[in-house]
């Protein structure tokens, strides 16, 4: 067989006298059945070259293990003990898999008379070996090819590498019970919706409280999105989902431009994921639709699914930035700050990778956003992010000036800046401008006596007209604070002071927005 097998195969699998430890660590396969083939060949010396004797080595291994004549040194026994110690169990490796591997390691060592030569204390546990091998397979797909298929592989097989990975995951997935997998860190869930670890905890809690039926429903809905064959290949019903959290990106096959957003509850199905060229067309379509129809609910939903498709395919380039930027701007325009903040958070990471886009524009938004949410810890971080170069930028400078004007209570300057806001910052400033008006009025009422012309307030606090000013004052105080005198309306400051103080306190309660980092 050795002569018929390709050379790389022979080196990997031929029984040699290399130390077991190194052989094991170099072994690319992780299916125990595979591994045992080397054992069998060790015994029988030559295997039938069609390479299909899976059950056969199984038996031989079982025969060998209990052979009484092998005296196992204490180090080996300790090693076995450690294998079974509960704290050393790995969720993604099932008990039987581990045992197989263990048996292989020991019998191999015994066969080669290496029992005393191996540093058992340092030798990786079988479950760790299995994991390492899996990782290696994932990191180097070409390895996976011959490591997994039980048939002798040919170079032409490389094109099918993804498939072979999939089948294998399914196999191993069946082995490990679902409650084990629950412990696994599910990265897909992380990626899909949760912007930060803190959030994640909250959301997970949320999830558990939801009824199972709900979850089922969502799953069904998701499956419903599948175009064409959502049958056997659908990862939704394969149990392998979180067996390997490090699985690589999905490559989409969906050609439909529009797609509704569903929060993923399992690994994405390539059939419902759109590849980059389709996504690019989809974005053009969405831009057109937004201009024509302006239906925010629809657009937001579409953008979310767009983002999701990018995420699950690990697409991170200029286009990704573009999608997030456009979604962020639309969300801003519509005052959907939760959605805006999700985009902003992602954009920050994307900008850090220098993928282009408009980093300063969004840095400015970020500062304004934290003014609105009054999140000082985050503001500190945002300030630390601003470089000297950024400060040259008009929008960043504006945002920084806004911040410092507010910090010093300089409402005069603040409202000058408000009336002259670059980009779409005004949408953000609109969110807190009334709050700052109340703050300013509280100060004005304390400082001016006995009254001030309402005209002055209109000009100072950026109102559009005296009527608007009067309405604002009346909304937050009472009629008796305004008085007509010498042909002008005047605000009686001492009467109104307490009212505005109260209104200010209410407006300044911390803003809590969903999706905030």
């Amino acid at each position: 067989m050795n002569s018929s097998a390709p050379p790389w195969r022979a080196t990997a699998w031929a029984p040699t006298s290399t130390p077991v430890a190194s052989q094991v660590s170099a072994a690319p396969a992780y299916i125990p059945v595979q591994a045992r083939r080397s054992l069998a060949s060790n015994k029988i010396n030559h295997l039938p070259s069609n390479g299909s004797p899976a059950p056969q080595p199984n038996m031989s291994a079982a025969d060998e293990a209990p052979r009484p004549r092998v005296e196992f040194p204490p180090a080996v026994r300790l090693y076995v003990q450690r294998c079974f110690a509960p704290e050393n169990q790995v969720a993604s490796v099932s008990h039987s898999e581990m045992q197989e591997k263990l048996r292989h390691v020991i019998t191999d060592a015994a066969e080669n008379h290496k029992l005393d030569m191996i540093d058992w204390e340092r030798l990786a546990l079988p479950q760790v070996m299995i994991q390492n091998e899996r990782n290696k397979i994932l990191a180097n797909p070409s390895v996976s090819n011959w490591g997994m298929s039980s048939l002798p592989s040919s170079p032409g097989d490389t094109g099918r590498k993804r498939k072979s990975t999939d089948t294998n995951q399914q196999q191993s997935g069946k082995e490990s019970p679902p409650w084990r997998k629950a412990n696994n860190r599910n990265r897909f869930e992380d990626r899909v919706t949760y912007p930060s670890t803190e959030k994640k905890q909250r959301m997970t809690l949320d999830d558990s409280s939801k009824s199972k039926a709900n979850l089922e429903m969502r799953k069904k809905r998701f499956e419903g999105v599948g175009y064409g064959n959502s049958g056997t290949s659908s990862p939704v019903d394969s149990p392998s989902r979180s067996v390997d959290p490090d699985q690589g990106p999905v490559v989409g096959r969906c050609q439909t431009l529009e797609k509704n957003y569903f929060r993923l509850t399992s690994a994405p199905n390539p059939d419902t994921v759109r590849p980059l060229p389709v996504l690019q067309k989809a974005l053009d379509l969405l831009k057109k639709k937004w201009k024509q129809e302006g239906n925010y609910t629809y657009i937001c939903d579409q953008f979310k699914s767009l983002r999701q498709d990018l995420t699950v395919q690990h697409i991170r380039n200029e286009f990704t930035v573009l999608v997030y930027e456009i979604h962020a701007r639309i969300a801003l325009e519509k005052g959907d700050l939760g959605e805006y903040n999700q985009c902003q958070t992602q954009l920050r990471v994307l900008y850090a990778q220098q993928l282009g886009g408009h980093p300063t524009e969004f840095k400015a938004y970020r500062i304004l956003y934290f003014i609105y949410t009054r999140n000082w810890t985050a503001m500190n971080d945002a300030l630390a992010d601003v470089t000297a170069e950024d400060k040259q930028d008009l929008a960043v400078k504006h945002a920084l000036d806004v911040r410092s004007a507010l910090a010093l209570g300089n409402y005069h300057r603040f409202f000058q800046l408000y009336l002259d806001t670059p980009n779409m910052g005004a949408y953000l400033m609109d969110m807190f401008v009334d709050r700052e008006r109340l703050t300013a009025l509280a100060a004005i009422c304390r400082a001016y006596k006995p009254d001030v012309n309402i005209r002055f307030i209109t000009e100072e606090l950026g109102f559009e007209s005296d009527e608007q000013t009067a309405r604002f004052i009346l909304d937050h105080s009472s009629e008796d604070t305004l008085e007509e005198k010498h042909g002008s309306v005047r605000l009686l400051t001492s009467k109104a002071a307490a009212r505005f103080e109260q209104a200010k306190a209410e407006a300044n309660r911390i803003v809590d927005i969903k999706g905030q980092i």
């Binding site: 810890t377 500190n380 630390a384």
Partner: protein, 453 residues
Amino acid sequence: MELANQFRRAYSTASGPDLAAVLTPIATPNNPHRLHSFYQFTNIQYLNKDLHTNLFHGKSPKVPKPEQNAWVDIFAAYWEAVGEVLKCEDRHPGSSAVAIFTAWKKLANALIRGYSGSSGLPAWTLPCLYTVGKFLRTFAIKADVEAASQDSSGFGFQDDLSVEVEKNANLEEAARIMNRMFTLCLSDRAPIEESRKWGIYETTNLLFKTYFKINSVGLTKNLLRALNAQSDDLPPLEAFPKSHIVTFEYYVGVIHFLDENYAEAEKHLSTAWRLCHRGAFKNRELILTYLIPCHLVTNHHLPRKELLAPFPRLEQLFGSLSNCIRKGDLVGFDQAMSAGEAEFVKRRIYLPLERGRDIALRNLFRKVFIAGGFEEAKDGQPPIRRTRVPVAEFAAALRIGTHATGRTRVDTDEVECLLANLVYKGLMKGYIARERGIVVLSKNNTAFPGTGV
């Protein structure tokens, strides 16, 4: 074996610190080979047996069997970790910071098991927990650095925010283990004399440090909440060792500080400052870094020269800024702020320091008031200061030092706005009569409260 002798000595005198010294994975100056000799005294095959013999046989004090086993487990894990440390020191191929961290994690887990299990290690051994926790943190940081340097490919399998998360993966794992240490101490129900509750603040400090490092200051709130819920069962703060309390109060102060809760922050930081050891230069400097801005905001006090003198770094941070505030030099203040901005922002003290501008402004306007002189004294009466000051005079003061180009010129409305703010914040007493363009200040030396005029 020397380590074993140390262990026995510490155990017979029930000295926690001595015991913790045994578990410190660094060589001491007077015994540079202590780790080597410990590692070489046995091999993996006889490890447990040798440990048993060395730690507990002979004339050692009677230690219950389960406790003995716990220590053997702990020292076995320690032995392995020391092996990894030595490998790293000798630049042995295959050595790595991650391997050290992994081995040290085992030690931490063995120790936690020793406390929580039936073996029930006594509470006086808690310093071991601190030491092991401390090195868990350092080794995790080193492992993260190592992982970052190896994984420079940038685009791995991560997605979204995980870039930042992965950066601290090991330290986060360490934090989870430390959290178990925290619970171990907090939930101990033994009578207080022999309770692990005495370790609660030190383990909290460990977690504080870690959370600050991984930029999750928010998580500290959970700890404080847990502590608060248990506060009835805890001994009073004063009963704990000062070293625990100083660090704890410092962190609690900084946490409030970051929330702009300066009054509360000041309280805790002052306690830390008061209790801090004279010789702990670095710690005193750290406390002052936050306490000084606190004082500036809460009661407008500036640091005296004598206070800053021993701390050149603080002198550099706050020196010129305080001078400008004292003199009411706004231009100088703005310059000092922008000169120190990078450092201020990094230390998260920019926002409170910025508020010093109000004090500088107050001092400047106070000068205007004093320069205004006195009203004509009515016969017999003591002279009264001129309390009606035109807004234009304040505006003139603001223009001092600024270049009177169009851009920087201050208009009257802005001057009024600044005046209104000082009045509103209680730094100035009086009111603005807008139509007449004057400020009417309070009489009887209360125009600028707390400054004598």
